[in-house]
Symmetry: C2
Subunit: 342 residues, 2 copies
């Protein structure tokens, strides 16, 4: 309430008894200024509570220091984590993030893009692009704005693209099971329309073949991300294919559902020992979206995509692109991390 009027460098200049250009120089630490005036200016700044207006600065010369993000859906743990990593890295560089949501089907991607352009961002990140992506890429480079894509599966080839290595993730998980003695490994979860799933399935199949293990299409079952459906699905699967000894789950929800299903089936089977039933029958392994320390009751291995790290990589990439306009297109594939318990 003390002072409602905005303080500008003029006020500072006046108070310090110097010119605005001097103040500007002190602020940006550019020209060689005598420590005496430097002092005076800084004192004035302090005393008046001056806050520099970056918009004005950006208007005149350089960059706004702001990069825009169009994220598919913040509510998805993966994207939330990615966004967190991205802001972290940007803030560490004194930059900021403009947030917009694209929507699950990209309905609002275009609007977001335009809003960001109006705000004069230095670059744009699109996390989880929809079909709209290609058009925006063209638009962006028509306008000369650096654009980087981050996604969960392969995307456009002729654009910077950072994504997880789904193939390798599946491979590692499958290999892990094989090395633990499993020969008959099934797949549970995901929708067949998912590209991420397709890439993972590729890694799974490849690994099975590589080890000369059987592969049956009936062992690959789709399933909505619901615990209940996963529980039912795994039991149906095992009932029809009792020889299956391990199941790869497409995500944590499915894994939990499967685990619930197994617990109940185990009970119903009338086995004597709880432990022996599961250890001797079905092992679980799953793809995790983020660090799942909380889900520590589910036995088995997880492979996770370090989404936060991915976010940091995205930050670096976009900053490079801003720095060197002529940087060639470059994609980056983030390696998964295998986490085994117990």
């Amino acid at each position: 309430m003390t002072q409602m009027k905005k303080i500008t460098i003029n006020d500072v200049a006046l108070a310090a008894g110097v010119s605005v250009s001097t103040v500007s120089l002190v602020l940006s630490g550019k020209g060689r200024i005598s420590s005496a005036t430097g002092q005076r200016v800084n004192e004035a700044v302090e005393q008046l509570g001056f806050v520099r207006n970056r918009q004005a600065a950006a208007l005149r010369g350089g960059q706004s220091g702001v990069i825009g993000l169009i994220v598919r859906d913040l509510t998805t743990p993966f994207y939330a984590e990615l966004t967190a990593g991205l802001t972290e890295a940007l803030e560490a560089q004194g930059r900021m993030l403009f947030l917009t949501q694209g929507g699950r089907d990209g309905e609002r991607m275009r609007r977001g893009f335009e809003a960001l352009m109006k705000q004069g961002v230095d670059g744009i990140v699109i996390a989880g692009a929809a079909s709209e992506g290609a058009a925006l890429r063209d638009e962006a480079n028509r306008l000369g704005v650096p654009l980087v894509f981050a996604s969960r599966a392969s995307y456009l080839d002729d654009a910077d693209n950072i994504r997880p290595d789904n193939h390798q993730a599946a491979q590692r998980l499958t290999e892990h099971l094989i090395k633990r003695g499993h020969q008959r490994i099934a797949w549970l979860g995901g929708r067949s329309s998912s590209l991420t799933r397709a890439e993972r399935l590729g890694g799974y199949c490849a690994t099975l073949l590589q080890y000369g293990l059987p592969f049956h299409s009936e062992w690959i079952v789709e399933c909505e991300p619901s615990q209940n459906q996963a529980a039912q699905a795994i039991n149906a699967l095992l009932r029809h294919n009792p020889t299956i000894s391990a199941v790869l789950c497409h995500n944590a929800t499915v894994a939990m559902g499967a685990w619930f299903g197994l617990l109940r089936a185990g009970r119903q089977s009338g086995e004597d020992s709880f432990e022996s039933y599961f250890d001797s029958t079905v092992a679980l392994a799953a793809f995790a979206e983020v660090e799942e320390e909380r889900l520590d009751d589910i036995p088995g291995a997880f492979v996770l995509t370090p989404a936060r790290e991915m976010g940091r990589s995205v930050a670096e990439r976009i900053m490079q692109r801003i720095q060197y306009a002529e940087e060639p297109i470059k994609s980056q594939i983030i390696a998964p991390r295998l986490v085994t318990r117990k």
Copy 2:
């Protein structure tokens, strides 16, 4: 690649054969302009692919149309959902969001605050404030910037504050159990240092007393948000207090863990029927962070704080504050929603 140079209203004015002021008027739809020139200008805009620079606009005249968010931790589902609701509502009003993270202990709140100020935001939202909050509130109103807090429990009194009604949430959940015939209801989860938990416990106790039901401090057990620990904790609890017939879980993770624990205990108990064991022994109910359609295997009721709605309310509140500077301080309590399954 076609045109790297930025198009300004000057270019448009030139192309349309009018003055910049005319273009500006057309753009903002203010002055009365003949539809003829209106046409010409719009064509030029279209043709040149002009994008208006909001920074410049904000510099001269009014607001930047941007509000800043300092969020404790985007990775928490609750805050992610809140943020999503907030951006949604803001975007619907043609405004945008600057995102910064404050950190779990508010380490980076101050930095974020200053960065936002430099960017010239119209207002600031702090979601999940730490101790730093009070200082920032003072700072904000020294600088004359509207500030709104959003949190999971009560916070500062002399500031706008939007939060869930934890008391009522616990009350409804407890009442739900009582009406289903439960008389001996325990509490599982949360840390005793949590204010949210304290408020919920208040509602729980109040309701028990109100119905003349027994209340034992041994029935209230702390527990880390880990499935495993929850599973162990519930079993220990029930072993020592076999008469307990229902358990309130502090969050979904604890609820799942408890459910895992019950499933295993049920098996080990050697009951004949899976269903009967649980139905006749322990019912679960839980506080959920967000819509948990995915967690549909856990039986029992949930009460959830509509975080997304909360985000929208926050958006409205901050916009009001921006609009009417002299608006009095006002807090808002968001009612919970009870969800029962089956």
